[in-house]
């Protein structure tokens, strides 16, 4: 085991796969010589060469399309979209092409592409460097969608994604690249070395796509969440002295409904937390799934905590961000409902 932050864990995953499998290539804006604007691909081009770790033009549609063509020709491309906010020029290639190549060709062609992209706010990124568009991809048939909340899962899920024969949209919550974040920007930054999930195996391992994890066991209520919000939710529950069970969804598609529903059926109370906007967000799918499966076990309405339904504002970042106060309010409401 080694101490890693998420950046090192992701880098290690790609390093291992590039080393093991000559069909793995990495491409994206600034991923080569510079090692990525967040340093996630640092050193990989030096180690594996310019034709396996490629700097690309600033054309997300071209990056995704080229990755598709490479995958059809037997490679396993890992495409980086520099910010999730920039992914939309590639959206048609992802939704209409990448997601459906296996389907429309009746399995004759496949495109095992991993699209990595940093998401989420809390870094003073304004409305074009802060979005969490996971619901836009979870809604598309044929895509696997994942978002890790810690270095251990980041590495294991990325290796699983690269080895997967289906396309994977891999969201990296950039606020927690360097350490877990409890939602309070005034507190000094905490490194991943303080967190048990900062311990990461150095070699090859996978975290299975499609499995949620019980990040914390508890009996009072269930918090269903993912990404940065795992840590914010944990802090909010602790602040109220609640014995909350926290489910880290990890994979949006395919969703591990069994793990989530089993917990809520047991606790009878549930709050769903995500950073993305609320309306038609992924929380709505979680809430509907829970209602359909756990209605008779529920002691209180399921509540959702999310970003407001506005663009992510630069100056009002922390008023927008679903921090501990917003989560705590929902936790209290769910606990107080009889």
């Amino acid at each position: 085991m080694a101490q890693m932050n998420m950046i090192q864990a992701l880098n290690s995953a790609m390093d291992i796969k590039l080393g093991q499998d000559p069909s793995v290539v990495v491409l994206g804006e600034d991923v080569g010589f510079f090692g990525g604007v967040f340093r996630v691909t640092d050193g990989l081009q030096r180690k594996y060469g310019e034709s396996r770790v490629m700097d690309t033009p600033i054309a997300e549609g071209g990056i995704i399309a080229a990755a598709i063509g490479m995958a059809v020709n037997g490679l396993r491309p890992v495409a980086e979209i520099q910010f999730a906010d920039y992914i939309y020029p590639g959206y048609d290639q992802i939704v209409s092409e990448l997601a459906r190549i296996r389907y429309r060709s009746a399995g004759e062609f496949k495109a095992p592409v991993t699209v990595r992209t940093p998401c989420g706010g809390g870094i003073r990124g304004g409305q074009t460097h802060s979005q969490s568009p996971e619901a836009l991809f979870a809604h598309v048939a044929g895509l696997r969608v994942v978002m890790p909340s810690n270095p251990h899962d980041a590495k294991g899920l990325l290796i699983a994604a690269i080895e997967d024969d289906d396309p994977v949209i891999y969201f990296e919550p950039k606020r927690i690249y360097n350490g877990p974040f409890d939602g309070d920007p005034a507190k000094p930054a905490v490194p991943w070395s303080t967190h048990p999930k900062g311990e990461v195996p150095e070699g090859h391992f996978t975290v299975p796509i499609g499995k949620a994890e019980i990040a914390r066991s508890g009996n009072d209520l269930t918090i269903v969440t993912y990404g940065t919000m795992v840590h914010v939710s944990d802090a909010a529950a602790k602040g109220l002295g609640l014995d909350a069970e926290i489910i880290d969804v990890r994979t949006m598609v395919p969703l591990d409904a069994d793990t989530i529903c089993a917990s809520v059926a047991r606790t009878g109370r549930c709050v769903i937390v995500h950073e993305a906007t609320r309306f038609a967000g992924f929380g709505a799918e979680l809430s509907a799934t829970l209602q359909e499966n756990c209605f008779w076990n529920l002691e209180a309405p399921i509540l959702r905590v999310a970003g407001w339904d506005t663009p992510y504002p630069h100056a009002f970042e922390w008023e927008y961000f679903p921090g501990q106060a917003r989560v705590a309010k929902a936790l209290k409401a769910v606990m107080e409902a009889s």
């Binding site: 290539v25 034709s51 396996r52 490629m54 690309t56 033009p57 054309a59 549609g61 071209g62 399309a65 080229a66 990755a67 598709i68 063509g69 490479m70 995958a71 059809v72 020709n73 037997g74 490679l75 020029p89 048609d92 290639q93 209409s96 092409e97 190549i101 296996r102 389907y103 429309r104 060709s105 009746a106 399995g107 004759e108 062609f109 496949k110 048939a141 044929g142 696997r144 997967d164 024969d165 289906d166 499609g210 598609v253 395919p254 969703l255 409904a257």
Partner: protein, 413 residues
């Protein structure tokens, strides 16, 4: 007089009721355009993007430096492929009109683009077609029966009932799946070619796009990536003058040729008479040699004409003169190759008629066999459970549940 800005709207040369007008089309006499070495730097051969490479002259002779000197036997095979493509298209058009298939797209008038190109390439070269390239399947030996079964969405449908008619694919024949969304295949072909280069393989990718959809961002991504990574790819704009009802001027063809986009990105651009089988073949060989020897990609503009309506869903008489195609100065690709073979003494009207009759019979026989595997409305039918397969490599739990739900629904439970 004060000069003012005015919105310029490209003119369409002729609409219904007007006399056909092709005065806008820049032509070069057959044999006039020089044939530079395939390894020439792009910057020294810009003239290829401006002129029009032609081999067949008005007397049906093959002339000039692009003359590919193909064996008459090979020309006869090319003629056969074009005629089979046309016979298949005609039959499917009539079948669509009778209501037995939902939709069809003919390649009438553009057969040489697919047939001559596929014949000039290696079978291992990967093709990323548009929806008007059925000749590629014909050349690579896919039975017409298979194409018909796809159009019928029947039990032998290669797409398992998931795609509109004509959206074929053929892994074994190295022909990629047709999307139905325009232009998306163009940059994918470049990615495929980049992978070939990364792996050190000798195969090319070739892709086709209409001049109308060359307006899409995907077109520009393709040219840019092809140029940046010098990918072994041949990118083709099939300029058939019409995007459904919209004249090519609205796709940016009024001021500059489509081939000239190539030099704009630092890659070779060649404008070729797309109805001249020999010229298309020669230009393809040149571009393939260029790509295979590391001299980089080529953008080929095929100047041709969409002789049929866009698809079975539109009536071309509502937006262009009825006799437009009869007046198209580059003629018909089948007629021109036929006349060339006759001029060579290698063909005759009688042989031509016999071949057409033979192919019609083959197409009719294939159709008879195709419907025995079912039609969209009549059995035997595909299992609707197929809709849940191939969404993912392995079916996830939620799709398993939905399939069971659908089966219960169909059983009336």
């Amino acid at each position: 007089m004060v000069k003012k800005s005015r919105l310029h709207v490209p003119k369409t040369p002729a609409r219904p009721g007007d006399a056909p007008d092709f005065s806008y089309l820049k032509l070069s006499p057959a044999g006039e355009i020089a044939r530079p070495d395939a390894g020439s730097p792009w910057s020294g051969i810009r003239f290829l993007a401006e002129g029009l490479v032609r081999v067949l002259d008005d007397q049906h002779r093959a002339v000039g430096p692009w003359h590919p000197h193909l064996d008459p036997g090979e020309l006869q095979i090319g003629l056969r492929h074009m005629l089979l493509t046309r016979a298949f298209d005609d039959r499917m058009q009539r079948i669509q009109r009778s209501g037995k298939i939902s939709f069809y797209i003919r390649s009438y008038g553009e057969e040489a683009v697919s047939v001559a190109m596929a014949m000039a390439l290696r079978p291992t070269d990967m093709l990323f077609p548009s929806y008007r390239n059925q000749g590629l399947h014909v050349v690579r030996g896919r039975p017409i029966l298979d194409l018909m079964c796809q159009c019928l969405s029947n039990t032998r449908d290669m797409c398992k009932g998931r795609q509109l008619p004509v959206m074929y694919h053929w892994r074994e024949g190295n022909i990629f799946s047709i999307s139905g969304n325009l232009a998306t295949q163009f940059p994918q072909a470049v990615g495929w070619a980049m992978a070939a280069a990364i792996k050190g393989e000798d195969n090319l990718a070739v892709s086709w796009i209409g001049e109308g959809s060359s307006a899409a961002a995907d077109f520009h991504h393709a040219l840019l990536f092809a140029s940046v990574y010098r990918a072994p790819v041949i990118l083709c704009v099939v300029n058939n003058q019409w995007a459904i009802s919209t004249f090519q001027g609205h796709a940016g063809g009024e001021r500059e040729t489509f081939a000239a986009r190539g030099p704009g990105y630092g890659i070779a651009g060649v404008r070729v008479d797309g109805n001249d089988f020999l010229a298309v073949h020669a230009v393809t060989q040149w571009a393939a040699e260029r790509a295979r020897t590391g001299a980089g990609p080529t953008l080929i503009e095929h100047v041709t004409y969409r002789a049929a309506a866009h698809s079975t869903s539109d009536d071309a008489a509502r937006y262009r003169p009825k006799d437009d195609y009869q007046k198209f100065p580059l003629g018909d690709p089948v007629e021109r190759l036929k006349n060339h073979l006759i001029a060579l003494g290698e063909w005759s009207d009688a042989r031509h008629q016999a071949l057409v009759a033979e192919l019609d019979e083959h197409v009719a026989g294939s159709w008879k066999e195709a419907v025995s595997f079912g039609t969209l409305t009549g059995g035997p039918s595909l299992d609707p459970g197929l809709m849940f397969q191939d969404v993912f490599a392995e079916m996830p739990e939620h799709l398993r549940r939905q399939e069971a739900e659908m089966r219960a629904e169909l059983a009336g439970k």
